[in-house]
Symmetry: C2
Subunit: 413 residues, 2 copies
């Protein structure tokens, strides 16, 4: 059993995956295994009793949107009785930022990896601050989601279809040359995305006011493209999953309570450990006391070789997540220590166009004692509040150690 | 006479100038001193007999557009007879990239410096390659210009008016954090510009096809915002001009034959010397043999502290103008040697958010023997061909020496 060969194969598939954004559809119609009594969520499996505040808030908001609950108590009753079931997005080829809750009536982006044929999905981005994915569910939050669903989604669906598909890997490669790292800083990517869609958005509706509102909503939200980017990374990581004998990490995800990883050569087993609390910069009026534990599927970006791993390309991000431009450079340099490959398509001008560190090798993480660096938003610990900051976090080492032990057992080392 | 104090005042005015893009209008209606028999051009004054190929080509194209000539011979006759007059854009608060020819019927951007009240102007950007500003004037070049004038300009005019004005200094500050240097690389700035205008473009026409074409034209041209940026820099530099006792350069411009500068404390006198030929990367099929001499008003960007002076912010630009990311960093570091100030609003993440070198001091240029670094496009030396590459160039030292002598004479040193 040649681990090197397996890892070379897995990372090659990860890098050669070419996910195109090809459409938009209702989760119930397009996500495999989606059903009316199911909510998808970020991270490894979770139950209500162990769920964090923001996760409970997002579940509550989603069930209000679905017309199934009126408040948190109602949501709790439905989930605890088993009437509503919870499953990870990752069990359905999907990903969602922060709480990552996707309900059947939500529209989701559909991506297809042109190289290997697998599909992936993500929900639409709501913008910053008080939003469902950070656990807020007040009337203004729900009103925005209804506008997104009823007004924006049909226009986006037609625009994306008319565009003939948007190559998200190419868009990301461009954005990494424009100061983005693809996770917490998607400023360039979001306006690249808006600019590419704009000529199609205009023709997708007869109502100029609607086209104008949609373009303003996409253009003013510096995270518009985060969700298609996350789905693209999911498609890349999925392409690298299931390679016999590979120690490459194919999923990193958090539900606010547990961090979980999956490893290419170890099937669908989750290795989990309690999440840490991110360190970073807080919005005015909030402190570290208010922070929820680490949450969200957005670590799929680091899994695919961008985000915290590409920080050298995004020195301006330190104004948002803390630190200095030198720290940003060092973050990337450190990640080369634990990765198998250097990306063929994601290059960084400040490092003389060197490829981003790609394909986290569980062996290296454990041997070198270096865990991945992750950029992240920070949610309030209570349901109903929303985002309170952004920062940096490391996944717990225990998961990687456990995975390495499992690998040794499975392959008889 | 306190030169230091004068220079502090001049650079303060340059940095505090806040040019807003407030409108679009026909050159004949809005540019002070514009008249029916006048063409504006880049650089210091020039006559037909000394004009470079691309300058002659652009003059010919403009006179065909105006319905006054049919070919180069016709254009030559009109100009040499004095029936058509030539004056620098800079004599009319205007700037134009490359040949920079502005004719009476062309629409121009109108900018107003909110801080000091002065206005500035520039024409619309045509995109890359075979375009009027590089001296091309074939039927497809003229057809594009007619579409820009007849179809795009009215929509843009209404969209800009409805936007309430676009703060170009703020846009530039943002773009410098997104890998632009504001002269040869305006990729981020152009999509920021497109994204900001898009919601207004949609409502500025009842024809969705037109709105779609306009958004595609702006969004796909990575130089869309160059002309508003140049006009903004002109407004900043003009605010710094005319300060008694100041040795700060307030204009650098080339007409393809001569390079010319003006100095804040030396009134409207041009100091000129023959242009050099840029060094850089050529498009397939072209070599340095094909290159015209240095041309264009776009050096107004370096005059205002961006472009070649902000290269540290734009490491990816080396794929276009040659060199390595380290060269880009060094270019900026070298320019601190000859500048009076560090910009208050234009900061560069790779240099720990240090301000760009701003306000070229003629004394320092001469004392240190360091001429400004300029990024530039390269035109074919013959009329009618167009762009053949992009690269780097230095202005001739002789102009700065001559200006310093004139300064000593004028102020009695």
């Amino acid at each position: 059993m040649d681990i090197e060969k397996a890892n070379a194969g897995a990372t090659e598939r990860m890098m050669e995956a070419r996910p195109l954004l090809i459409g938009l559809g209702k989760a119930r119609d397009v996500i495999p295994g989606m059903r009316e009594n199911l909510l998808l969520h970020a991270g490894p499996p979770i139950t209500w009793d162990r769920a964090s505040g923001p996760m409970r808030g997002a579940i509550t908001g989603a069930l209000i949107l679905e017309g199934k609950a009126r408040d948190e108590a109602g949501a709790q009753a439905l989930v605890e009785s088993g009437e509503i079931e919870l499953e990870p997005c990752h069990h359905h080829q999907a990903v969602g930022p922060m709480a990552g809750v996707i309900c059947p009536s939500m529209s989701v982006y559909i991506l297809e990896n042109e190289t290997h044929g697998n599909k992936s999905f993500s929900n639409l981005n709501e913008g910053y601050g008080k939003v469902l994915r950070y656990g807020a569910y007040s009337e203004d939050v729900l009103a925005r989601l209804r506008w997104m669903e009823d007004v924006m989604a049909p226009v986006l669906a037609e625009a994306i279809a008319a565009s003939g598909g948007i190559d998200i890997r190419a868009l990301l490669a461009e954005a990494l040359h424009m100061g983005d790292e693809g996770h917490n800083r998607n400023k360039a990517g979001s306006i690249l995305y808006t600019t590419k869609l704009a000529p199609f958005v205009v023709k997708a509706t007869r109502d100029a006011d609607v086209a104008s509102e949609v373009l303003r909503f996409l253009g003013e939200n510096a995270l518009s493209v985060l969700n298609p980017v996350m789905a693209a990374c999911k498609a890349m990581a999925d392409a690298a999953h299931g390679i016999e004998g590979s120690t490459i990490v194919s999923v990193m995800a958090r539900n606010g309570t547990d961090f979980g990883i999956r490893v290419s050569g170890l099937g669908d087993r989750w290795f989990t450990a309690p999440v840490a609390v991110p360190k970073g910069l807080y919005f005015p009026g909030f402190t570290a006391e208010d922070a929820s534990g680490d949450i969200g599927d957005s670590t799929i970006t680091e899994t695919a070789g961008i985000g915290g791993f590409a920080m050298a390309s995004a020195p301006a991000i330190v104004t948002f997540v803390s630190g200095t431009p030198r720290d940003a450079l060092n973050a990337t340099l450190e990640m080369y220590e634990i990765c198998y490959a250097e990306h063929k398509y994601f290059t960084m001008p400040p490092l003389d166009f060197r490829g981003t560190p790609t394909g986290i090798d569980v062996r290296k993480v454990v041997e070198k004692g270096i865990t991945p660096r992750v950029n992240t938003g920070i949610a309030h610990k209570d349901a109903g509040v929303g985002q309170v900051g952004a920062g940096l976090v490391r996944p717990p080492m225990a998961m990687f150690e456990e995975a390495l032990v499992a690998f040794a057992e499975r392959y008889g080392y």
